[in-house]
Symmetry: C2
Subunit: 426 residues, 2 copies
């Protein structure tokens, strides 16, 4: 066992979390760039989110790097950065085998989750995700064979079983159809299913992880963005009205990576490296690569470069750092030190894109056709590291002080929700 359970709290990854005496819901609003929240609040189209900011707590915080979905979801449920749990991207280049491996398939997480800890302490916990790949990672120690919790995805809701997911498909759906995986409704299904679990008393702590389908496709203020925010806002209100204290963070922001004419602004690092050092000397891994490729053509603001040939690593790093469009090119050690990454999965050089630039491997290797002429909007760099952090209840004095003096991260949300909203006398 990797967490300690005491009478009133659990201890997970060097933090203490009080056991809840009332319901809590943490929402990971995938790709919810702060610009969406700002615009919605200014135009008054998200009254419940605005009320959270006014009456509870609101701040702009950092996501874990790289600003991708899986590293951040796992960081949030662990309350700790990728260095601790090992998930630093979707795909990872295994030096030993020379193969690209989906990180969430590469074995168990390197750290226990808060969700599993709470479940072991007797709290009714449910994790609901949009995508099934992510559900598998978050279910560790929580749901499945002999475990007490619930963990399922909207994507595979209909085929869920009590044995594997802690709940059967028909119970999840309660008559609601399962939406298409490329739709705004997939995220709304997650929230609706969470609300049913809360209302029926089947869960006291909810982790609800949405999809960034809408944000990849539409800028703030677009009718589609407005409609989605309104729909999420309604459901956030319903969770609060049902008695839950709600925390909302995003896994990453979202930036338009297109030029004035709408074409994507892509720096193909594989091509540059091949031209400089010869083909086969280096390998560029895009850790945003995802079975849901239609969102972004596997183009984001962060890549890892592995040096296969006999090249001076620092020479390659310096070459990459001088390329316009590159914000930072860091050695493996420096990337891990500055951004809390796990060493064993880091590239020889980690490359963070400049603002407005997507990093790719080779021209022609990315499924740009999937964008169907839409502007490329994506994430991964420091430009998408700032994310909203909302809590529906006021913070106690200790956490107000913490917020005013420390750099907060999205993975502090369980700490703030479970510990920061307890009244001072407790």
């Amino acid at each position: 066992m990797r967490y300690t359970v005491s009478d009133d709290s659990i201890f997970v990854n060097r933090r203490n979390y009080y056991l809840p005496s009332k319901p809590f819901a943490v929402i990971c609003y995938d790709g919810f760039d702060p610009s969406y929240l700002a615009d919605a609040a200014i135009r008054g189209i998200s009254p419940r989110l605005s009320a959270m900011a006014e009456q509870g707590f609101c701040a702009s915080v950092h996501s874990a790097m790289p600003s991708f979905t899986n590293p951040n979801n796992v960081s949030i449920v662990c309350g700790a950065p990728p260095r601790v749990h090992g998930i630093s991207g979707n795909y990872w280049y295994d030096r030993a085998t020379g193969e690209e491996v989906m990180m969430t398939d590469a074995g168990p997480l390197g750290a226990p989750t808060i969700l599993a800890g709470l479940a072991e302490a007797g709290v009714k916990v449910a994790a609901v995700t949009a995508k099934d790949k992510l559900r598998k990672a978050l279910a560790a120690g929580l749901a499945g064979e002999g475990l007490p919790g619930i963990a399922f995805s909207a994507e595979k809701a209909s085929t869920s079983t009590r044995a594997e997911h802690g709940i059967a498909g028909a119970e999840i759906q309660a008559g609601q159809p399962v939406p298409d995986q490329y739709s705004p409704e997939l995220s709304l299904f997650v929230l609706d299913a969470g609300l049913r679990l809360l209302r029926s008393g089947r869960a006291q702590v909810l982790y609800l992880s949405l999809s960034d389908f809408v944000q990849h496709a539409h800028a703030p203020g677009a009718p589609e963005s407005d409609a989605f925010i309104r729909a999420v806002d309604d459901r956030v209100g319903a969770l609060i009205d049902a008695g839950a204290t709600v925390g909302i963070v995003a896994d990453h922001g979202m930036t338009d990576l297109s030029l004035a004419d709408g074409s994507p602004n892509i720096l193909y690092l594989g091509d540059r490296l091949d031209a400089r050092y010869g083909a086969g000397q280096t390998r560029v891994i895009c850790p945003i690569t995802d079975p849901f490729v239609r969102h972004h053509g596997a183009l984001g603001g962060f890549v890892r470069v592995h040096i296969l040939g006999d090249l001076e690593h620092d020479e390659v790093r310096a070459f990459l750092s001088r390329l316009p469009g590159v914000e930072l090119a860091l050695s493996r050690e420096e990337m891990c030190r500055r951004f809390d990454q796990p060493m064993e999965r880091e590239g020889d050089v980690a490359v963070i894109a400049g603002k407005g630039v997507a990093l790719g491997t080779h021209e022609g290797a990315h499924a740009l056709g999937e964008l169907a002429g839409a502007r490329l909007r994506s994430h991964g760099s420091l430009a998408e590291r700032n994310v909203p952090f909302l809590v529906s209840q006021p913070l106690n004095a200790m956490y107000r002080r913490k917020a005013a003096t420390e750099q907060l991260h999205n993975y502090d949300i369980f700490d703030f929700v479970l510990n920061g909203t307890r009244s001072e006398g407790n």
Copy 2:
């Protein structure tokens, strides 16, 4: 005298600068967001800038905060942040008089400039700016009554005199007409005039400061942006061909602050504060305010809030920090500590906008009509802090190490150009 001149160097604001043995030009490419350079390099439309990056040095660095024109130009010529020289915006609220004062009119700079130091050491120095207000600040100790250097603006080129500017209007123009102050040509005039000074031997060190007219109006890849970059690139090439070592930085980046429908995304802090605390209790200063208001309607990503009424400062700070659209709301002390600002000109609360958001005072108080329906593109926040940093010559080993290990700023450019390109034996 506030700098020390020795045989081979000057000492200004705690840094040593070697006297040049060949010509040098430092260009402040106003509003040159890294996304313009990245795009131009990727599409190959700026061959001379690309050659600088490949054969010399290129990095993404930080500007001084706030990411505005005057604080950064002065920081660059001082080689030091606003805390040292006192220019932390265009306008400043004088607590003693209750008036808003243009900072560059508020008395001499709080620090000497590298330009004046070089001129005193006998180097032929010329500063050429697009705007005249900025020229006045940069001319301190350099040009005018009894001083040896040259300092003039493109805006007022035709009325320049030897007595005040170190050169007469007709000599500056050499037959070239003075362009409109709202035109791309104003910046090109700066570069052309600098080139003439270099070729004629009238200047050995040039500081050439452009205008961000094009970048406020056009995104990367727009035909107007491309045309401007090509024109600047030609002139950078001409300076290099004429024998100059060239350094290029920007004073700040540029971000689209509009919604999907093209309307500006503005958070009116004055209105919010009035609604919360009552009118007249607080005063919001937009230090981007500028006689060149047509660029941006005095809307940017940074404002200072002064508390006039009997309000708890930290309560106001906490209120502002919870507003969606605010990235950071910092106490005066914290702003000065984190971003090297001068205390006497800081607000009681400094507010940095979130990505994609402009901060304003009151609805109706900003000249939005001047935008004439164009998208609002502006700067001031951390989203515009990253700027390109280019040097046309390779760096020596010490400066390569510096670049690999320290956070560089645009105000390191004179250090890198004058000291970093000296051969190691020197």
